[in-house]
Every structure is written in structure tokens, then in C-alpha cells.
Amino acid sequence: MATNPMHQFNVYRIGPEIKIDQIDISFTNASLFMVISSLVILIVFNLGSLKKRIVPGKMQLLAELSYSFISKMINDTAGSKGKPYFSFIFSLFMFVLFCNMLGMLPYAFTVTSHIIVTFVLAAFIFIGVTIIGFIKHGLGYLKLFVPSGVPIVLLPLIVIIEIISYLSRPISLSVRLFANMMAGHTMMKVFGGFVISLGLVGGWLPLSFSVALTGLEILVAFLQAYVFAILTCIYLNDALNLHH
């Protein structure tokens, strides 16, 4: 059923079935769009770094602006200690951004609208940040759960709340991105379905809505990638500079 708004999120196999020890790792449309967005990122930034001109061209300017944008973001949130993690956060931001943006193309598949993808990314960040925290501060990293200036009576409750909030980080991070992308694309599909079913007579209202939604979704695509990257920076900041 083409009008089913959830149909666009279906994952299906492209090409032959690949199995390693009964585990299916076939190439799917999701994999295709992961590869496409990675290739687009590499092409754009390779073109942007090929020519070394003092006065940059369009591609060079794009690459250099993104570079300084993310380096400023890391510097503002995690300080100068966050510099070694620049290339990871840059890749993360660009990957999420390009997956979101390519998903806006008609008939395209949105990689980030699948909870498993965002959850793997978020879990990787969570585990990595926790390991960095323990390496940098040893067991002193556990002080993160004990905020200073809290009355002793309240302390057990606060510690429990802090631990829960810390453990829910990967879930909130992944669900935020996945839910935003899925809801936006579903909304667009639903309004697109209205245009078809109401036809020439009444289809104009949902069509104009659909146009407005497209603009909103492009904004959301950028914003969610930004939020994903900046939250990673904030978690990294907690691990690098223990403030509590």
C-alpha cells in the first residue's frame, strides 16, 4: 500500500543475501544510503581541500566553514581538551547531517529514522565517553554522580537520579534523533496522501502544508544533527573536565 506513511521506512535487501554464520548482513537500501552519504561527504570535503588557495573558492569555503564551525563548537563546549576528538565529532556531525538531508530527497531512505542506527551511534558515544572519563579521572569519575552543595539528607536520592539520568543518555540521544526524523517523514507522507485523496478540489490546503513542512524538515534535519553533535560534546566535556 503506497499511501501507508510507514512504508517509506521499510528496509529491503538489495542484491544477494550475504550471511556469515547464520547472521544476515545483506546489503540493503539503508546500507546503500549510508554508503551514498559517506561518499557525498568524502567528495564534498575532498573537493574542498584539493586547492590550497588564499582566497577560497565555493567548495573550499564550504569545507573550511564547516571545519571552523565544528572546531568552534567543540572549543565552546569541551574546551581545548576536546581537540583530539575533533575528527570523530566532525565525522559524526557530517554523517548524521548528510543522512538527514539525503533523506529529504523524494524516494530516498532516511538512515537516521531507524532506532537501531541512532542507538548504535549513541551507545558507542556513551561507552566511549565513559571509558574516557574513567581513564582521565580513575574512580574519581564517579564524583560526577555526587553534585557538590547538596544536603546530605537528599544525597542518596540525588545520586540515584544522577545515575539514572546518566544511564538514560544513550536512549535520549538516540530516541531524539530517530523520533524527530520518523515523525517528520511520516507527517510529510500523511500530508502527501491527503493531497492525493482530496484531489484537485481540496488538495491545495495539504499541499501548501506539505511545502511548509518540507522547509521545517530541512531545518529539523540540520538542527538534529547539530543537537546530536553538541550533546556528544557536552558528554565529552563531563568526561574531560569533571566539574562536580
Binding site: M34, F45, Y67, S91, I116, V120, S197, G202
Partner: protein, 196 residues
């Protein structure tokens, strides 16, 4: 008008519910674990290779570019400042040179003028001396001539008159008497000519 709006809203809600029912029937494909492992595998593969290529090859180039530009701009500013100072020094040098040469030229001019004036003065003095001497000589000569001229005239007059008389009358007349007459006449003429 109201009827049409109500009808429109009814159709809108109807289509909405049919769409939502369609979604319900199939459920969320995101929660179907059939391709989860495949997605995780390809995510790790693509994102990992993207991260490695970006961090090893692409990002260093961009950061190099940025730093190169920064350092080059700083260098350019430095050289520009250096050149500015140099040019200011050159301008000062040039001005001093011009002033010196102006002074020299003025000195030369003054010297030359002095020399010329001296020369002119010397020559003028010489010439004036010469002229004065010549004037004096000429005056002397004139005075002498003045002194001697009446006597000579008288002599010539007596001689001519003797000759004239001789030819007219054919007789020789006493020299002294004729000269006396001539002197007398010339004295009268002199009084006429020079007398005040």
C-alpha cells in the same frame, strides 16, 4: 459555505484515519529486527571508513590550509609593515637629499653671483679708469688745441692774406703789418665767439 467546510473537514478526517489505519496494520518497520544486524554492520563499516578517511586524509589538509592562510596573512602583514617603514625611511632620505641639494645649489648660485659681481666690478673699474684717462687725455688735447689753434689760424690767415694780396696787387706787403691786422680781427672774433 459552512456545509462545504464541514464536508471538507469530514473528508480530511476520513482520509487521516484510513492512513493511520494503514500504518497500524503494518506497524513500525523500525522495530522489525530482521535487518538490525545488517544495519549495525554497514553502519560500523561506512561510518568507520568515513571517520578514518576524514581524520587521516581530508581534515589535516583543511586544517593545514587554514593555518597556512593564517600564517601567510600574518607574514603579509609583517612584510607590509616592514615595507611601510622602509618606504618612510626612503622618503626621509629623499627629503634630506633634496634639501641638501637645494642648499648646495643655493650655495653654488650665490658663489657664482658673487664671482660675477666681483668680475663685473673689476672690469667696470678698469673700464672707468681707462675711460677717465682717455677723457683726461682728450681734454688735455682739446685744451692744447684750443690754446694753439688761434695762433695757427692767425698764421694761416696772414699767409693766405699775403698770398691773396700778392696776387691781387702784385706787391709784397710787410709781414708784420698784416699779422697785426689779422690778430686784431681774430681778437674781435674771439670776443664774439667766446666772450660772455
Amino acid at each position: 459555505m459552512h456545509k462545504r467546510l464541514v464536508l471538507y473537514l469530514f473528508i480530511l478526517s476520513l482520509t487521516f484515519f484510513t492512513n493511520v489505519n494503514g500504518a497500524e496494520s503494518e506497524g513500525m518497520p523500525q522495530l522489525n529486527p530482521e535487518f538490525w544486524v545488517s544495519q549495525i554492520f554497514w553502519l560500523i563499516l561506512t561510518f568507520g571508513s568515513l571517520f578514518i578517511i576524514l581524520s587521516k586524509f581530508v581534515l589535516p589538509k583543511i586544517s593545514n590550509n587554514l593555518e597556512m592562510r593564517k600564517s601567510q596573512i600574518l607574514e603579509n602583514i609583517e612584510t607590509a609593515e616592514k615595507q611601510k617603514i622602509e618606504s618612510e625611511n626612503k622618503i626621509k632620505e629623499y627629503e634630506t637629499l633634496i634639501n641638501n641639494s637645494k642648499n648646495e645649489a643655493r650655495n653654488y648660485f650665490n658663489e657664482a653671483r658673487k664671482k660675477i659681481i666681483q668680475d663685473i666690478d673689476q672690469k667696470r673699474e678698469k673700464i672707468e679708469k681707462d675711460i677717465n684717462q682717455e677723457i683726461q687725455n682728450a681734454e688735455k688735447e682739446i685744451i692744447e688745441l684750443k690754446k694753439s689753434s688761434p695762433e695757427k689760424i692767425n698764421k694761416i690767415a696772414t699767409e693766405t692774406s699775403i698770398h691773396l694780396i700778392k696776387q691781387l696787387i702784385g706787391e709784397e706787403i710787410n709781414n708784420s703789418s698784416i699779422s697785426a691786422i689779422v690778430e686784431d680781427l681774430s681778437r674781435k672774433n674771439k670776443e664774439k665767439n667766446y666772450g660772455n
